[in-house]
């Protein structure tokens, strides 16, 4: 019978391979799956392409993954954040590549990748440096650029509540990229504070239906990134 629950974060990332593309949910600390990221650091996979809105803060979570030099390329909209010192250093030294994507285009590219839409037109970035070199097209008298869908080998996502079929609810603005990355990941992994039996969540309120999710792990009291940073934690 269907049961997507694994014992722990370590198991959930055990098959991440060197060179994989990884989507990581979160907008700043809201929705960042710290325990899954730390398990990925422990696991050791390297030469990763990471898709996240930011580049992490302090030296925990995503920033710690970058600091450990596991990330060869970041795809994000806003790599400059308070307490973000790890990425700038590696970017300036040329050790980590950056693909800068407007936030709405990033979200739509991930949704498109998960929805079987290989490409779409958007008005965002027309006439700006980020639109340069992209295919342009005039539709109904307005100019648009062509953008391509994004998919990933693995998506690491923080939810609030999940069931063993992989149905997921999120917490407030921690929802952000999670439902989209669940769609676009070949293997989508959810960490949730509670994992319940199918039927315990009202089918009307499910945000991510289980079909998009491959693995769920229960992390009962997930770390709060800003608290770790305030406490001076550096992972590992």
């Amino acid at each position: 019978m269907i049961n997507k629950q694994l014992a722990n974060a370590e198991e959930a990332v055990a098959d991440v391979f060197d060179g994989a593309t990884i989507m990581i949910s979160g907008f700043g600390e809201a929705g960042s799956p710290i325990e899954l990221i730390h398990a990925l650091i422990d696991h050791g996979a390297t030469n990763l392409t990471v898709i996240n809105n930011n580049t992490g803060s302090g030296e925990v979570g995503l920033a710690a993954l970058i600091k450990a030099k596991r990330v060869s390329k970041m795809i994000c909209s806003y790599p400059r954040t308070a307490n973000s010192t790890v990425f700038p250093k590696l970017y300036r030294s040329g050790e980590t590549e950056l693909e800068l994507v407007p936030q709405g285009t990033l979200a739509e590219r991930i949704r498109a990748g998960g929805s079987g839409i290989p490409a779409f037109y958007t008005p965002t970035s027309v006439g700006t440096p980020l639109g340069e070199g992209k295919e342009h097209r005039t539709i109904n008298g307005r100019e648009f650029v062509l953008e391509y869908g994004l998919t990933a080998d693995f998506s690491l996502i923080k939810g609030r509540l999940a069931d063993t079929h992989g149905n997921v609810l999120y917490n407030k603005t921690a929802r952000n990229f999670g439902p989209l990355m669940a769609m676009a990941g070949n293997v989508s992994v959810i960490q949730a504070e509670h994992i319940v039996t199918p039927g315990e969540i009202d089918p009307e309120v499910i945000i991510t239906p289980g079909i998009f999710v491959n693995r769920v792990v229960e992390i009962q009291k997930p770390a709060v990134e800003s608290e770790l940073i305030a406490a001076g934690v550096s992972y590992p």
Partner: protein, 223 residues
Amino acid sequence: MTNSPQQVGRTRDEMAIRLAQDIPDGSYVNLGIGIPELIAKYVPEGREFIYHTENGLLGMGPSPESGLGDPELINAGKRQVTAIPGAAYFHHADSFAMIRGGHLDLCVLGALQVSSGGDLANWSTGAPDAIPAVGGAMDLVAGVKSIYVITQHCTKNGEPKLVQACTFPLTGCGIVNRIYTNLAVIEVTAEGFQLIELSPGIDFEYVAERTGAPLLPLKDNTK
């Protein structure tokens, strides 16, 4: 079309039972209208399939008891259904993101014709006065990982439905993986129609005669 004596093969229910045996445990499945719907009754012991209906439900259950249905809880054939524990409702764009994005494991459809190249025609006979109606069939065949067809081997007039090239308007090109008929189970391969299994009491020649394109015989798996 031939003079060989009538052979019966599988009933519609037996076809559904046979197909259900080939669906792995845990599969996400979309069942088309007609014979495909029968499959839900024949889930093999120990397996669990989750049914998707493109009008916005994952975890579709059987028809409700009489009088207990909700006219707003229906399947793609617009018949009242139920929702199993663990079900989820969603809107049409999310539903077809599941389909187009390759998240469903299997779609089982009926057919007017299937070509040896895996083309499917199942939405229109192209008759000049027919009202054309496609629904979600073209999205399903374009997006779902595996497309199985379940159909009578021949039309009521005895014409083959498995053909060299479809004459009816296509639903999709090169997308059918397997065909389950009353007479046989046939895989669509790069070499054309490959027989996988004959229905009990059916001869290879009988099937081949009723197939409108070359039928490759059973491979010898004893080698």
